[in-house]
Symmetry: C2
Subunit: 344 residues, 2 copies
């Protein structure tokens, strides 16, 4: 069933039917009802391709997830982010085009997306410190919003980010205030902007409390469970182990906990840990008394914010860029406690 057939079956012209369907005022309420009912009865929906071609709007948002040729990892955060974003999209009639590309073809794939006119806007995930995608997209002229920031990029652009620096600084100071002097950081890949900011916050927290940092207590890698395990094991197995650890994600923290328990230490007593918690659906970090003391910031909510911003950006591409900084809550859980040997 297409528009023409529907119009014929109603004894109306395609024009009128289209107007009735799209809520134009030039059609009487009676006619509109009749059209709407008939459309419903025939399960008629305008062909998206034709609509997009005629209107020039694809009503589609592109999400490109990049696989590093070295790691080939899919960020588990993506699933929750997209769930949040999709809520907003569907309320506004948008849908999602997903592409998975290798880092080598990344730039080309953005160009292609624009040239093919497949999407109205793009969400940039996991920006690196000096991410070339931002200049690229600005040049192409495709509306976009960055989830995160790219500190070394001069251009202005829309972004939604968590206050990673502030959060990690706060967590660090909190641990110091509990008497911890040696605090390990098990960070994500520090090419990524958010990880760099977290380290900055960690360093700022230490120096605000008059402590110096130590290379052996800082690691950076892809945030897998086994990385968390290996990094924690190495730290706590050293001659001068940390009494507290800052973990970049719940997944990393779970690996670290494994190392801690394997060594016979008790989390929250022998050693403390604070994890960043994106509130992934499969890793609910407890309710009232979470397992991990955590910097909590819902990535699903971030998805919603990004989607809202992008939609308004598409509507007004020439307005000055928007940005939004989300704060992470420090949720006290069972994984932190006073340092045992504060004087040691």
């Amino acid at each position: 069933m297409n528009l023409k057939e529907l119009a014929q079956s109603l004894g109306l012209s395609p024009t009128t039917v289209s107007r009735a369907l799209n809520g134009y005022p030039e059609v009487s309420e009676a006619t509109r009802r009749r059209v709407l009912d008939a459309a419903d009865a025939h399960n008629y929906r305008p062909d998206t391709r034709a609509t997009a071609l005629a209107t020039g709007r694809a009503m589609r948002i592109g999400h490109v997830i990049t696989l590093s040729s070295r790691h080939e990892m899919v960020n588990p955060v993506f699933a929750d982010f997209i769930t949040g974003a999709s809520e907003v999209y569907s309320q506004n009639g948008y849908d999602i085009a997903l592409s998975v590309v290798s880092d080598a073809e990344e730039a080309a794939s953005y160009r292609a997306l624009a040239a093919k006119r497949a999407v109205d806007g793009i969400v940039v995930h996991a920006p690196r410190i000096d991410d070339p995608r931002i200049d690229l997209l600005n040049e192409i002229g495709l509306p976009f919003v960055v989830h995160g920031r790219a500190s070394a990029v001069a251009a202005s652009y829309c972004w939604v980010d968590v206050n990673n620096r502030g959060a990690f600084r706060r967590a660090t100071e909190f641990l110091v205030d509990l008497g911890h002097r040696r605090i390990g950081l098990i960070n994500g890949l520090e090419q990524l902007d958010f990880a760099m900011r977290r380290r900055d916050g960690y360093l700022a927290g230490l120096s605000a409390r008059g402590l110096s940092h130590e290379a052996a207590l800082m690691t950076s890698d892809e945030m897998t469970e086994s990385y968390g395990y290996l990094a924690a094991r190495r730290m706590i197995g050293s001659d001068t182990p940390p009494t507290a650890i800052l973990a970049a994600s719940i997944i990393v923290a779970m690996g670290a906990r494994r190392a801690i328990e394997e060594r016979g230490l008790r989390l929250g007593r022998d050693i403390s840990m604070i994890a960043h918690d994106d509130e992934l659906s499969y890793f609910d970090n407890g309710g009232v008394e979470p397992n991990f003391t955590a910097l909590r910031s819902s990535v699903r909510d971030a998805g919603r914010r990004v989607a809202e911003m992008l939609i308004s950006r598409i509507a007004a591409p020439d307005d000055p860029p928007l940005s939004e900084l989300l704060e992470a809550d420090l949720m006290l859980g069972r994984s932190t406690g006073p340092a045992l040997h504060a004087e040691a």
Copy 2:
């Protein structure tokens, strides 16, 4: 730059340019080169909407992920599945339309996808035992492939599934052979077909070895880390605890391990565990000697197979349905060992 402009700039007709671009034989090699070079130089790509409208093919595959109104969980498996599928899609010129819908609007959303002519085919995720989507899609006439099966559905359809029943039976028998008599099953939601099959396999394994089952040793729920923890804690805290556990996923297994270690038990010595391992990128379960003895089956590979099958299905929608059963390997890791008190 559109086709007409490109043609003009070359002094050719749109027809010839289109043919050159699409590899038709009616155009000389010299002209084709000239066209291809010009297209490259101008970064020209055919408008997808127009192409789709003209050809009738959207070159797009729909993936619908359903959020249960009760749980609102996004399966983390999805990210890896889509990565595998996307490899195949992009080789064949397809891209991905992702929609996230609540279970209430699920049927309507499939109908809409078909009516809007937005996709050429659909992948059905996480089928329930008696999943209505299969009959629905057959009725609509939209090509689809199910990742998994729906045991109670009579209609024939294309599917790719892991031999869950066989795998769990084998794992159960393996544990029995190690001397375990009380084996717990921490299963996924048993409305889902794969979980039901796993329980079947578990029960078949027990009865093949002459053992009976026990309700207290079988649980079913959404596969989160904390579910794994709670279920395991309850089992091992009972008067007659199991000496071995079968966990439905690595994530669940991590929760179970937490409960085990919290109780001061040593995994692989005091209690054994086998987990199903989808090889999620963020939970690499070791290499040569994995942490968990596991039923290993790559969900990314399943994504590839599903994508291949769907593409061939789209090409030949009236062929008899295809199906493929993948086997899971039983990988020996450090989480299993002989039962301590085989006679107890």
